[in-house]
């Protein structure tokens, strides 16, 4: 069971946290919503909860709750640029269907 981050993604996350001035790491999660059932959440983490599972990738702490991990296990978080847009991308091996834009999915 693991969540990983590409070096590119880790670099951006630590940069954002530094500029933001606070935060212990990155919180990944899944919640039920969206056109294909599930949606990713990506937030700054200001504290580590008692139930949080922790992973570390290129020096950046990734926090996730156990329920979400079931949907995200093996996911690699990447940071890419598409035209003028840039941001994070979930490479999730569990996904069977995703909506056209990829913001929500089911497994």
């Amino acid at each position: 069971m693991a969540i990983t981050m590409t070096e590119q993604a880790a670099k951006h996350v630590s940069n954002f946290i530094t500029k933001r001035g606070k935060g212990v790491g990155l919180r990944l999660g899944v919640r039920t919503s969206g056109c294909s059932g599930m949606a990713y959440t990506l937030e700054f983490a200001d504290e580590i909860g008692a139930d949080d599972l922790q992973f570390e990738s290129h020096g950046v702490k990734v926090l996730i709750d156990a329920k979400s991990l079931a949907y995200l296990d093996g996911t690699e978080l990447d940071y890419t640029r598409e035209g003028l847009n840039e941001g994070f991308k979930f490479n999730n091996p569990n996904v069977k269907n995703a909506c056209g834009c990829g913001e929500s999915f089911n497994v």
């Binding site: 951006h12 996350v13 940069n15 954002f16 500029k19 933001r20 990155l26 919180r27 999660g29 919640r31 919503s33 969206g34 056109c35 949606a39 990713y40 959440t41 990506l42 937030e43 700054f44 983490a45 200001d46 890419t80 598409e82 035209g83 003028l84 847009n85 840039e86 941001g87 994070f88 991308k89 979930f90 995703a98 909506c99 834009c101 990829g102 913001e103 929500s104």
Partner: protein, 620 residues
């Protein structure tokens, strides 16, 4: 798949519901758009990596160009290439001092000037909307979705009409304006001053062609603009020009072609930029005539040739401080804005003036847009509850006209919005049944010195003795800075109100309404003038008749004196009224009543003059 950004804890958006918001610096020379991405404010670049969009719009046969493309054609097609349109926003032709020296074909419209182009007559609002459209497209491409809204910055000294014009331009460009933010305030926000210590800050903004100095006071999370000053014709371009003149002088050049002038201007600008980092800048160019220019500009020479320009920025700065009633020592921090503040001579002069190092670690070209983006991010709901919400203040006092053309301020400047204030007024004449409410904006005491915003009438006031009626006038400014005014007679509840949309031509409907309004007022004005003239004339006649009666009362026939006295009283009564026709009538009646008396006086004085003289004497 869609690219995600990191949200604040607990603030993740539902899929397809990202609250994308941007800050836009709609500048005189250049415009920018910025956003907050994963907690970081960044300026969004175009496909070529350029962040600055020249605020230049060119209308041609096949459409519209905005930015660099338009700028390149400026010299070739000046009539249709509109630069610095910001100067025309919300302004009438008479407000534009140097209109005669501009290449545009201006069309004088009530409210706001328009420009005739190849693509038809365009208002400054439409031209600005073209710039905003390009920025909006850039933002939507960069953020991968539709914007929920934008914070757009405006100069602190913009009045209501200019602010409304800016909002209308945004609406025309399909942008929802979350808020207009004062440029100096945005710069202060970018530096995080709003989270810091309360106190007074100076924002020194030297752009390409304009200079603004603002003194801000931060208290309880609100920035107040204490004073502003500046020079609308001073900027980096003037420094370039000084170098250009120096080159001509040093190289002994004159009578250059357009092309060579442009070439040397470009070199002058490049040299200025080199001097930001280096002690000297080489200037080498070959003119179309084959002449060689090979010079070296040192920082020392540059400082010398631009000394007067630097001091031209300090004079308004001193004045702004004086207007705010502050001394230099009371300024807690100085924020540098505008590309021209990169010049070490400016940094040095400002540092010396304020006795402290100015804040300059953010890119001075971008700082306003970044601050606007931070504010937009908060307003779009992307921050936690503990986050501040910067409040806006009213830039100029709002009030109404009272007797004698004086202004009664109802909402003083720097009140935070939304705001509502009420004040009671009364009638000044017995039986007065209507009251005209004239809403004005400005700091001056006389109505004629303030900007007129709206005029409306409260009718149906029950006739009472003067001073008995109680009319409550309420001014309300919503979060967008839009003003509505309501007048209500307290005993009967009759009410009248107006929402102030400052006057200028945007839609045809508005133009029509405005024309009608101005015609209605034109008639009022004409009547008022006629009345005033009749009153003066009547007063003069009464004076003349009374003087004649005193002098030649013995010439009156029986009962004539009484008849004239009655007519004089009637004329006096008419003068006290407000119908110019009644005054004219009474005037004529009095004239007729005194006709024979006047004839007798004339005969008497002629007789008197002739008595005792011989005919020969008179003829000679």
């Amino acid at each position: 798949m869609a690219l995600l950004q990191i949200a604040e804890p607990g603030m993740s958006a539902a899929p397809h519901q990202h609250r994308l918001a941007v800050g836009i610096d709609l500048g005189t020379t250049n415009s920018l758009v910025a956003t907050v991405r994963s907690a970081l404010a960044v300026v969004l670049n175009d496909e070529h990596g350029r962040s600055l969009l020249p605020s230049v719009v060119r209308y041609h046969a096949d459409g519209v160009d905005v930015g660099c493309h338009a700028q390149q054609k400026q010299a070739m097609d000046p009539q249709n290439t509109i630069v610095s349109v910001k100067r025309f926003m919300g302004r009438g032709l008479s407000d534009i001092a140097d209109a005669a020296h501009m290449p545009y074909r201006f069309v004088d419209q009530p409210g706001m000037v328009q420009i005739s182009t190849l693509a038809g007559v365009k208002s400054p609002v439409e031209v600005s909307a073209e710039i905003l459209k390009v920025l909006r497209q850039r933002a939507e491409k960069a953020l991968g979705g539709e914007l929920v809204g934008a914070v757009i910055t405006v100069p602190a000294y913009f009045d209501d009409a200019q602010r409304q014009a800016t909002k209308d331009a945004a609406r025309l460009a399909g942008i929802n304006v979350l808020r207009l933010l004062n440029e100096p305030t945005a710069a202060a926000v970018a530096y995080g001053l709003d989270n810091g210590a309360e106190g007074v800050y100076a924002v020194f903004d030297l752009g390409g062609g304009t200079f603004d100095i603002s003194i801000l006071k931060l208290s309880r999370g609100v920035f107040e603009v204490l004073s502003t000053n500046g020079d609308s014709a001073l900027g980096g371009d003037d420094f370039d020009h000084r170098i250009y003149c120096w080159i001509l002088e040093q190289a002994g050049l004159s009578g250059l072609s357009h092309q060579d002038t442009r070439l040397l201007q470009t070199h002058a600008r490049a040299a200025k930029e080199v001097l930001t980092e280096h002690e000297e800048a080489p200037i080498t160019a070959v003119l179309s005539t084959g002449e060689m220019v090979d010079l070296k500009l040192t920082t020392g020479v540059f400082a010398e040739i631009t000394r007067s320009l630097v001091s031209k920025t300090l004079a308004p700065t001193r004045k702004a401080l004086r207007d705010a009633g502050l001394s230099v020592e009371e300024v807690k921090g100085v924020v540098m804005v505008g590309g021209s503040t990169r010049m070490p001579i400016i940094q040095h002069a400002v540092g010396e003036f304020f006795g402290q190092e100015p804040l300059n670690n953010l890119d001075p070209d971008k700082v306003v847009a970044l601050g606007a983006a931070i504010q937009a991010n908060v307003l779009a709901g992307n921050r936690g509850e503990d986050e501040w919400l910067l409040l806006d203040v009213i830039p100029l006092s709002l009030g109404l006209e009272t007797m004698g053309g004086l202004v009664e301020k109802v909402i003083p400047r720097n009140s935070t919005i939304p705001a509502a204030r009420a004040q009671e007024f009364t009638t000044y004449k017995d039986g007065q049944t209507a009251m005209s409410i004239h809403v004005v904006q400005g700091e001056r005491e006389l109505v004629s010195d303030c900007r007129a915003l709206a005029k409306f009438e409260l009718r149906g006031i029950p006739p009472m003795v003067a001073g008995a009626a109680r009319i409550r006038v309420t001014f309300q400014v919503d979060a967008d800075g839009l003003l509505s005014v309501t007048a209500r007679e307290q005993s009967t509840g009759v009410e009248s109100s107006v929402t102030v949309k400052p006057s200028y031509g945007l839609s045809d409907e508005q133009i029509t309404q405005m024309l009608q309004a101005s015609q209605a007022y034109a008639k009022d004005d004409m009547m008022a003038r006629a009345l005033q003239e009749a009153r003066v004339e009547g007063g003069r006649l009464i004076e003349a008749v009374e003087a004649a009666l005193a002098e030649d009362g013995r010439l009156l026939k029986e009962g004539e004196g009484e008849r004239i006295a009655v007519r004089i009283d009637a004329l006096r009564a008419a003068i006290a009224g407000d119908d110019h026709r009644l005054v004219t009538q009474a005037l004529e009646t009095l004239n007729r009543a005194t006709e024979s008396f006047a004839a007798r006086r004339m005969d008497a004085s002629v007789n008197k003059a002739l008595t005792g003289h011989k005919l020969e004497e008179l003829e000679s």
